[in-house]
Symmetry: C2
Subunit: 654 residues, 2 copies
């Protein structure tokens, strides 16, 4: 993550505006300008093709910044192409006339974007708070050898040792451990390391899940997984220290049978389909386990636990439960709670002792991934009224605090994943992910993923583009273009008016890349569903949307979300951007937390039982809320006071 | 069982003594005479060969009783051979002069033998006492179908139904049940039968281990097993009613690798030996399960639980635990407690859900079979100070009541199983199992198993023979023959003096069957070890042997033990024979009880923790006690007051 706030090392000063930003080495100048709130024309997405982004290096150094678009003489004069120049020290950069409007004002200045504060997962704080209580712990025992006076059984000797040396009680010794006990004790002269699997519920027992000769207490590892419909993410965790050792992800191998959960369910309903879906996701997980262990000295047999979180359908397919009724009214899953499972019983290639913990769900469409996010974010144990939101094809919303929790799933449609948008695409190389506009010439600065020529628009780009067009008066509150504007970039296309982001010549494909009014309509419907969902939920518990004190964003989309844009268009309720926190992959975070803390495992049951699920389609005024949200940012501007003020200041008619 | 007290149907009157006995149809006259305390010469063991047992039928009827030894004329006169005549109605029988001493007295009268009262296992009493609480129960649910207002998960619906309809709480639903849930619910319109596996410990959960469509609550079955070193016994149990459906036994297939536990351990120490021993006993159990289900309409998949009890070595081999240190000082088993185990995990051919409960042991030589006997007999929850004793190669002794329990294993040697006795043998066809003697002529009445010509002496026969010889002054308190007696049956043989039980011509083998002084010495050492063990244990807790209020006998030997004989020789402490109860196979009984009652499962942990184990060889005065017991019945006759009185009355010099 590179933002103006963190990971900084070098200061870049942009002239003539004199705006400064601190960024890490390797960041492109165009990205640095964007972070500083400086606009540089860059139609080609930072691939160096259009050559419009030339700037002058007036002091310090940068790396690269020269393509065939610059002559040797120009290069010697200090000209650089901002999109292909990378920071490698402090520098002063002049944004040249070519790249801005010739006359007056300081049109290189555009609003600085706010990204959410990254939630920092801090083991030391957890330890201080007493929350660091790994479910798997190792204990070393130095036991006396048997004598005629003390010839208790090997198992009894170990249990007494655990009691006397470590104050452990209520222990159960499963058969596989009993089988290893005699040799383990006698191999290193009655010094052994036992692995304890902590009980969660009160009255439950601690299980002795392994015994090894000698002291190997420092080797104690587990796994945390997020089972996404598209992508599976895995982490390898050190139970002894709480540290993350490695992290890997891969496409869910089920993806070749359909992109969304409904198509996976249909597949599972076919003969042997459920087994197939189960095997595909398990193969993905097993493959990731192998990758997680690569370049470590950790063996597969040293892994004692795994926590997995996924949406309700993914969880069903992972466990081999029939998902049929998830897609049929009244949408009944087989189960929302799952007992601890022997990892081998769901075909995970882990030692026999390894236990798989699967996050519980709330309903067919509020799954374990959301619960994991709630647990990982800690919102369930703090005071502020918090909105937790994970935006994908379905946006899941949780609102509440330590006293109450409500949740709902909003059918947002696939706009945020690029679906239903003319040039929409997933967040992959060539996707426009960020954007600004010259407020006078309406020339764009496109920032693409991987500095490739633009081939489409991903979710975060879509949000920023629409917000920027709206802020600059190019589209109105209904998402319609101002047809009076004098620029070739705005024109009438097949689906109403459109804005040309990139001309064909500069694009990665063989057509202009545009955003049209139908795209904007689809986006607006999606954001309206989410906002209306939040408002309905909040009002359902007798509060107002303005009572929200904190917003927690989760999911891949949330990591790139521009907060000002999100409030400008009315996707997120308006709060001080400082109160918005991004937790990254909430599902993975929650899984990891469960590997770190038995308190989380205990609390999750309470959280699920406490959480009230709303079926939005069953709530009376949800549709009215939705219709009211189909404007930018909303029909009721009093819900967005700061945004309204900003829009007015910017000259928007709002 | 046929005794004078129960199963009676016909009255047989013996003349001239006028002694009467009630016996069932089919019992041989010789057996009836024996029960009535009437001696009939019968050297050939009831095979009809010697023809000495002729009696006269003076009234009523008998079946058979004629071989070539009787002429037609004799038969017409009423002569019958008692050993091959069977009761089929009331009858009056005169014991003829040929078969008794010609003159005076009533030498046909011999002491009536007392066998222990049979412990009757009464389900109805258990139910009244609230002890009938099967660990596996079935519950029928009639659930409402899901609606938009109530679209909880299938599992949640079932759990709520169990709570509302059956007041069940704290339920866990394992994965295999979740997998069947959706179809089971929808197959019979949301009527289902769930199988609950009850928790034992406090705070533990009840597991839902099966779900079936419709109402099948009446089909609920389990298994109880005794894993003996020689023989494996199994019972098929109806959990719904508590009834025993069938019972089978078979040799433990390990037997071809040695008769005793030590040889099995040695075998298990060889490469792959442990796996082999495990497989052999598991194959025996699996074979018995098949046999138990034969001629029933019960399928293997209807069996939900199995309880197994065996000695510590058998338990180790069953579970695949290394028994190596059981045979090496200081005799340390791997474990004495065993967690509930998935039956499949120890290769039992039972459904995946079936749980195996294995009885805990106390030490290397006081095993789960003994604990099962203690649990089955109920001695741990009653007031009287009780001696529980299971006699085999090793006799295990438990003494105590509901407040305290102590136990020990006595190395009795194999005399009671026929080992170390010149003509000793196991209790099989042709073994002399009962005996009386004509007090004047010293002619024997041998009763053999299966009415075959005698081929040897089994444990119960040995006890009765020695007691009878002692009562009649043929041997003295040191087990030496009175060499002055004038009978060809007492003679000097290779191993000192001996008594000829059967002449070669009447025997099943090709030699005389005898009992010699060395045999008597071996027997005396065995009984002394047991008695000394009891006395040492009792005195170890500050009581006297005379404080024993009840004796419970278990094991195959116990079923045939003649109580008077046992006290005459000083094997058992002297108590009123009414206070002696025989529980049969205590190990099997305890297993069955565990299948019937969760109270037993709960209590067993308490019993094991409460029980103090004595290592007799470590107790100071055990050896002195042993030496003092090497007399018949004991050096200290005050320990056997009634026996001493009887012996004096019989003219014994004791």
């Amino acid at each position: 993550m590179t933002t103006a706030e963190n990971s900084s090392s070098y200061e870049i000063t942009f002239l003539p505006s004199n705006r400064r930003v601190k960024v890490a080495a390797g960041v492109s100048l165009i990205k640095a300008a964007h972070l500083a709130g400086v606009h540089i024309n860059a139609s080609c997405g930072g691939s160096g093709v259009c050559g419009k982004c030339r700037v002058i290096l007036e002091g310090g150094t940068v790396e690269g910044g020269r393509s065939e678009k610059l002559s040797s003489a120009e290069y010697a004069e200090g000209y650089r192409q901002a999109c292909i120049a990378e920071v490698n020290g402090n520098a002063t950069i002049r944004v040249t006339a070519e790249s801005e409007l010739a006359a007056g004002a300081v049109p290189t200045e555009v609003p600085i974007r706010h990204q959410a504060r990254m939630h920092v997962f801090d083991i030391d704080t957890l330890k201080k708070e007493g929350v660091f209580l790994p479910p798997i712990e190792k204990r070393v025992l130095h036991l006396p050898e048997p004598t005629h006076e003390d010839n208790r059984a090997d198992a009894g000797r170990i249990i007494r040792g655990l009691h006397k040396e470590h104050n452990e009680r209520g222990l159960v010794t499963p058969l596989p451990v009993l089988k290893k006990m005699r040799r383990a004790l006698r191999d290193k002269n009655f010094e052994v390391t036992v692995t304890l699997s902590r009980a969660v519920g009160e009255g439950s027992k601690t299980h002795i899940v392994n015994i090894q000769p000698g002291d190997v207490s420092h080797r104690n590892f587990g796994l945390a997984f997020d089972i996404g419909t598209t992508t599976v993410h895995g982490s390898l965790v050190d139970h002894q220290t709480g540290r993350l050792i490695s992290r890997r992800s891969d496409y869910n191998a089920q993806i070749s049978y359909g992109e969304d959960v409904i198509s996976r369910i249909i597949q599972a309903e076919k003969p042997k389909g459920l087994q197939l879906m189960h095997e595909l996701v398990v193969n993905t997980i097993n493959g990731l386990i192998t990758k997680l262990l690569l370049k470590t000295d950790i063996g597969r047999d040293e892994l004692t636990s795994i926590t997995l979180a996924g949406n309700t359908t993914m969880t069903h397919l992972l466990l081999g439960l029939e998902p049929h009724n998830i897609r049929r009214a009244p949408y009944v899953p087989v189960s929302t709670f799952f007992p601890p499972i022997r990892a081998r019983d769901i075909d995970l290639e882990l030692p026999l002792r390894a236990v798989a913990l699967v996050y519980p769900s709330i309903s067919s469409y509020v799954g374990g991934d959301i619960i994991a996010g709630v647990m990982g974010s800690g919102m369930y144990r703090t005071e502020p009224v918090t909105l937790f939101i994970d935006i994908g094809t379905n946006a899941e919303i949780v609102i509440g605090n330590r006293d109450w929790l409500v949740c709902a799933a909003c059918s947002a449609g696939p706009a945020f994943e690029g679906g239903g948008i003319t040039h929409g695409m997933r967040a992959a190389a060539g996707a426009i992910e960020d954007f600004s506009i010259n407020p006078v010439t309406f020339e764009p600065m496109n920032i693409t993923i991987g500095h490739k020529p633009p081939i489409g628009i991903c979710g975060s780009g879509l949000l920023v583009i629409i917000a920027t067009l709206f802020e600059n008066g190019i589209i109105d509150r209904q998402g319609k273009f101002d047809r009076s504007l004098d620029t070739p970039r705005i024109r009438e296309g097949r689906s109403g008016f459109e804005y040309v982001l990139t001309w064909k010549e500069e694009a990665g494909g063989n057509s202009d890349i545009v955003l049209n009014e139908v795209d904007i309509e689809n986006f607006t419907r999606a954001k309206a569903a989410i906002y209306a969902g939040c408002k309905t939920l909040v009002e359902g518990v007798g509060l107002h949307i303005t009572d929200l004190e904190q917003i927690i964003l989760a999911g891949a989309f949330g990591s790139y979300i521009d907060l000002d844009s999100a409030m400008t268009v009315g996707l997120l309720p308006e709060v001080n951007p400082d109160k918005i926190i991004y937790v990254g992959n909430g599902s993975l975070l929650g899984s990891w937390m469960s590997e770190m803390s038995n308190h989380i495992r205990r609390d999750v049951v309470e959280v699920v039982n406490k959480m009230t699920s709303f079926e939005l389609s069953e709530v009376k005024n949800f549709h009215d809320q939705y219709v009211a949200s189909l404007f930018l940012p909303h029909t009721d501007l009093s819900l967005f006071p700061t945004t309204s003020k900003r829009l007015k200041k910017n000259g928007q008619t709002a």
